[in-house]
Subunit: 327 residues, 4 copies
C-alpha cells in the first residue's frame, strides 16, 4: 500500500521543509493557493505554521496536505543549556497541539536513521534518551505513577543495514504494540545551509517517501500504519547539489540586473545539471554538506527533542523538569 | 503464548551454556540420562555437542530438548587474525549443519542486546557487520548474484530502552518479512570465568526465557515465531553471585578431605545466600564480572560471527573469503 | 624520579579509597594513629575527610600523607538531574577548599584512562565535556571574559595504546604549558561493590603508582610534576579477587560465633589465595566487577565532574549554572 | 618558533594535496618550475610523486620543498578486503622509501584530529589500531622480539577540546620520549570530491600551519621538533567554498567556448566571493562536504594505514601479515 507521492513540478525544490518550499515558491513569484501561513517571533525562537489545505497546494509544495509547524532558533547551534530548555519547552507545547490523546493512551516513538552516520543519527539518539513506560505498565502497573502515558520506542535502523524497509518494520511493531499514535523522528535535508541544525519541523501527516537523509520508500502515515503519525524532523545536511544549484542561480541573478545575459540567459536545466555533475562527479547524490561540529549538534538536539517528548507525552512531567528525566 | 520454562531443580546452575550445565551435573555425580555428548579437538578449537533428547534430560539440564554445539578456543581472546579466520570457518561449518535451506531461502538475523552496554552489545555489532541482501532481492533482483540467499537483519534493542519485549518486536518483523529461518545472536552469562569470550554456543531450538545477559521473558523459538530459530550465544559475563557461590563451594571442598567440617558441613543454601548477599549487597543481580579488555573482545567476536554467517548463509561466499565482506 | 610507594603490610587492602582503607583497619580493630577523620551528612550526600598526617598513618593506610575528601551519594546511580546538580555543586565547593589560586592562574586537567574500556573512560569523558579557555587566552585574550581562569585539558591515553607512561606524557605537557596546578581525574577500584559509582574521592597529593583501574607506574604529584596535583577519583569497578576474598571472610565470620571452626579457623592467606585462584583462574588480575548499567553511570558522572570543575575553576561560573557550560 | 608559511599567490588553491595543487596550476596553463613529477599505474592503485625542489616551486604550489607521494585508488571506497591489503602493502613500501632508520630506532606516531568529528577522526583511529612496542622495550625488553622497532603513539586531541596547540603537546612528548622519527597522520581537505577517501598523501617534510581539516597553527616538522617528521594525510572532506568556486569556474568555462561572455567575463574574484557567501552564509569556513558513508570509510582507512605502519616500522612484520596485528 504505497503512499501517493506529491512531487512538485519544480525539480529544483529538493527540501524536506515545508517552510522552505513555500519560501522558494514565493521568491520565484509563484502564487501558492491552498497554503496558509502564520508566524510568531519569540525571544529565543521563531515559530511558523504552514497549512496545506488543497490538492493544488500539495502539488505546488511537493508535500501532502496537513499542518507543518516550524521552530527556528540560532540558539540550537550554541551551548546555552538554559535557552535550550526554553526551546525544548516550546517544542513540547507545539507538539501537544498536534494530538488529542486520552490519559492512558499508548504512543510509539520511532527514531529513524542510522546510528553510524552522524547526521542521520538524530532519531536513534532521541530514542536512547527517551523515558519509556510501556514495560512498567505491563509488568508492574502499580509502579507506573499517575499522569504517565504508555510510551514505547524503537530505532529500526536503515535499509542498507537491515535489508528491510523501515515502513515494514514499523508496521510489524504497530500491529503487535497497537499504539494510539506514532511519532517518528528523522534527520532531514534542507535546501539552505542556514537551516541546518537550527530548525525543527513538526507535521501531523507522517513521513513520506523520499524524505529524510537516507532513502525511505514506504510512507509512515495514517494510511499505512492505521493510526495517526506525527513527524518531527530536523535538517542536518544540505545535498551538495543544492549548494551547486544555488551558486548558479545566485550568479545569474547578480548578472541579470546589469545587462543582457547573452548565452547565460539561455542556460537550461540540462546545462545546469551538466555543470553540477562536472564538479560533483557521478556520485552526486551521496555528498552531504554539514557543519564541522555536527557530532556536538546532534547530541544537543537529541536532548531537546527527548526532553520535549517527555513533557508532551506525560502530563505528570512538568515543563520545568524538561531535561530532568533524560536517560 | 509463553514458552514452557525448563527450570532445573538445582538452583545453583545459573548458566546459559549446555556444556557447563552438563559438566556441573557430572561433577556433582549426577547421572544425566537423555543427554548425549560428543567432542572433537582441533588445532585451534575444541568442538563439542550436547543433545538433549528427553524431558528428563531437559529437566536435569534446565534447558529444552535440542542440539547444543559448543566451539571453544582460547584464541578468541587473542589478536591473531589468521587463527580467527580459521575459527570463523569452523563456526560456519557447524552452523550449516543445523539448517537445511533452499537456495533462495530467506533468513532473518536478530542481534539481541544493548548497543550501549559493552558486554551486551555483541548481537547488535554482528548485525552491523553482516552482509544483507533482502533489499537488493526486492528492489534490484537482477543485481543479486547467484548463490546469495535473502538475508535481512535487525537489532531490536532491549526492554529498558524500547519498553517492548524483544519477542514482540521480532514476531512483528517475522510476520511482515516471512523468513524461512531466524538466527538470533545473544550475549550470554557463563558460570565459569574461563569461558568468557572463549566459547561460542549454537542451539537449534532458539533462545529461551531468562537466558542472556539482559532479561528476556518471551522465547524466540519455533513455537513463538512459526519458523525454526537457531541461537548463537557467546558468554561475555559471569554473574558476580556465581563467583561468590563457587568460592564457597571450593573452600568447602578443600576443607572436606581433611577433617570433620563441623558447622561448615551443615551450611545450607539459605546460609550461603546470606553470605553472598552480605558481600554483594541487595543489588546482586546486576553485578557483572568481565575481562578488562571486553570492548576489544566484543569487536573481535563480532567479526568472527558475522564472517561465519556470511559463509554459512551464502553458498557464493567461500571459506577463504570469510572476512572479506564484513561491513 | 619514581615516587615512594606506601604499601600497607596488610595485603588484603586492595582499594584506592582512603575512606575504605580506614574503615577496613577500624573494623579489624587496628588503631590508626596519624589519621584524622571528620564527616558531615547532608540531604543528598555524605562528605567525609581523612587526613593522613604521619608516616605511620601512611604506612598503615597504604597511602601517602595528605587530605582525602570523600563525597558519597546513592543518587549518583540514579537519573535525577536536579539532585545531581546539587552533588556537582557540593563537589565544586570541596574542590575549591583544596587549592588557593590567583585569579589569572593556569590549570591543566588530565583525564586518565582508556576511552575504549567503559569503566576506565571517566577521565577522558570529563575532558571532553570541560570548558577550556587557554587557547582563547592565547589567541584572542580580549574575548576571554573576567573571572575565567586559564584552563587546558588532555586525555593522554593508556600505556597499552601509547607505549608511553602517562606520567611521561603529562610531564612533557607540564613543561610546555607551565600550569600552576594539575588536576587529574581517574577511574578507581573499590573494595566494596556499594561504592562503585557512588563515591567521589578528592586528594591533594596527586595520583600514585599502582592506583586506578589500569596500571600507572609513574606518580603524578608535586614531586614528579613540579606543581601541586589534585586527584579526583571515582571507583567504577571492584576487582573480582576482592569479591572472592570478602566471601571467604564473611563465611568464616558467620561460622565463628557459633562453634569451634576446626580446620577452617586455621586457613591461612595462602589457602585463601589458592581457593580464589581455583575459582577465578590464572588471569585473576584482569577480572572486573561492574554494575550492568556502567555505560550510563560513566556518562552521568562525567557531567557531574565536568560541571563541578567549571564552577570551581572559574569564579565567573556560578553554582546555579553548574551544568550550563558542559560541552 | 613558527614555521615559514608558503602561501601561493593564487587564493583559489585551497587544497592540502600537492598533486592537486600541481594539477590546478597545470590546468591554468601555469608553468611550474622547481617541481618534478613521476607516476606509476598499478592494477589497484596509481602512485605519483611530486618533488618541490626550489623556493619558486614552493611559492607556486603553496607548499614547502620536499617529497610528496600520492597513492590513489577508487578501491579505498569499497569493501574488498583483499584489494585493501594490497593497497596497504603499497603504502608500506612507499613509506619505507621516505626514511632510513637503524634496526633499534624509536618512532613516535601522532594521530592528529578529533575523535568526535568523524571526518577528522582518522588520526586517532589509526593510533588505536597500531601495534606499539615502546612499553615492552622499557619494562620487559626480553619479550620484545627481533626485528621490532620501538614504536609509541599518541592522539593529542584538538585545540578546541584541549586548549593547547597540538604542536606544543607533541613537542613536550618528543622532548621526553626522544624518538628518531615522528610520523603524523591527519585528515586533509581536498579540492575535488573525487579525491575524498580515495587518496593517501605522504610527505617527508611534516605537517604545516593551516593544513588539515581543523586548524593547526604550529608546524610539526624537523625545524620545530628536532627530528624528521613524515606526514600521512588522507582527504576526507572538501570545503563547501571549493564546491561553489568550482561550479562558477565550470559554468564560465562552458560558456566561454560559445560566445562573448559579456559581463560574465569580467567577474572578478570579489564578485565570485560575494556569490559564494550569498549561498553559504557567513559561516562558510565551517561547512564540510563528505560522502554519506564517511563513518565506514574512516574505519576502513584506519585499518589500511595502521597495517601499513606495522609493516613499514617493524622488519619482523611481513607484508602478507599486513592486517594481522591490528589492535
Amino acid at each position: 500500500m504505497p503512499a501517493k507521492v506529491f512531487s512538485t513540478k519544480n525539480p529544483s525544490i529538493r527540501t524536506d521543509l515545508a517552510v522552505e518550499a513555500r519560501q522558494f515558491l514565493t521568491q520565484q513569484g509563484h502564487a501558492v493557493p491552498g497554503v496558509t501561513f502564520k508566524e510568531d517571533t519569540g525571544e529565543y525562537a521563531h515559530v511558523s505554521s504552514v497549512e496545506i489545505t488543497t490538492p493544488e497546494g500539495a502539488q505546488a509544495m511537493g508535500k501532502p496536505p496537513g499542518n507543518y509547524i516550524t521552530i527556528e532558533s540560532q540558539y540550537l547551534r550554541q551551548t546555552n543549556k538554559v535557552i535550550q530548555e526554553e526551546i525544548s519547552q516550546i517544542l513540547a507545547r507545539e507538539l501537544e497541539k498536534l494530538f488529542n490523546l486520552a490519559e492512558n493512551a499508548a504512543v510509539l516513538v520511532i527514531g529513524l536513521g542510522n546510528w553510524h552516520a552522524t547526521p542521520d543519527a538524530l532519531g536513534p539518539r532521541v530514542i536512547d534518551k527517551l523515558m519509556v513506560t510501556r514495560h512498567i505498565a505491563q509488568y508492574a502497573p502499580e509502579e507506573l505513577g499517575e499522569g504517565l502515558r504508555i510510551v514505547s520506542a524503537l530505532a529500526p535502523g536503515v535499509l542498507g543495514i537491515t535489508g528491510i524497509e523501515t515502513g515494514e518494520i514499523v508496521r510489524g511493531i504497530v500491529q503487535n504494540v497497537k499504539p494510539d499514535l506514532v511519532i517518528a523522528i528523522d534527520s532531514l535535508a534542507a535546501r539552505n545551509v542556514d537551516r541546518v541544525c537550527t530548525t525543527i519541523q513538526l507535521a501531523d501527516n507522517g513521513i513520506n517517501p523520499g524524505s529524510g537523509v537516507g532513502n525511505k520508500r514506504l510512507a509512515l502515515n495514517e494510511e499505512t500504519m492505521g493510526v495517526p503519525v506525527i513527524a518531527i524532523g530536523v535538517p542536518t545536511v544540505v545535498h551538495a547539489t543544492n549548494i551547486a544549484y544555488d551558486v548558479i542561480e545566485t550568479l545569474l541573478g547578480q548578472v541579470k540586473g546589469e545587462m543582457d545575459l547573452g548565452i547565460m540567459g539561455k542556460l537550461g536545466a540540462a546545462d545546469k545539471r551538466q555543470t553540477i555533475q562536472a564538479v560533483l562527479g557521478p556520485g552526486i547524490g551521496d555528498l552531504h554538506v554539514t557543519p564541522k561540529e555536527i557530532d556536538f549538534l546532534i547530541l544537543n538536539l537529541s536532548q531537546i527533542l527527548s526532553g520535549a517528548l517527555n513533557v508532551a507525552l506525560h502530563p505528570a512531567v512538568k515543563e520545568k523538569d524538561v531535561f530532568r528525566y533524560l536517560q
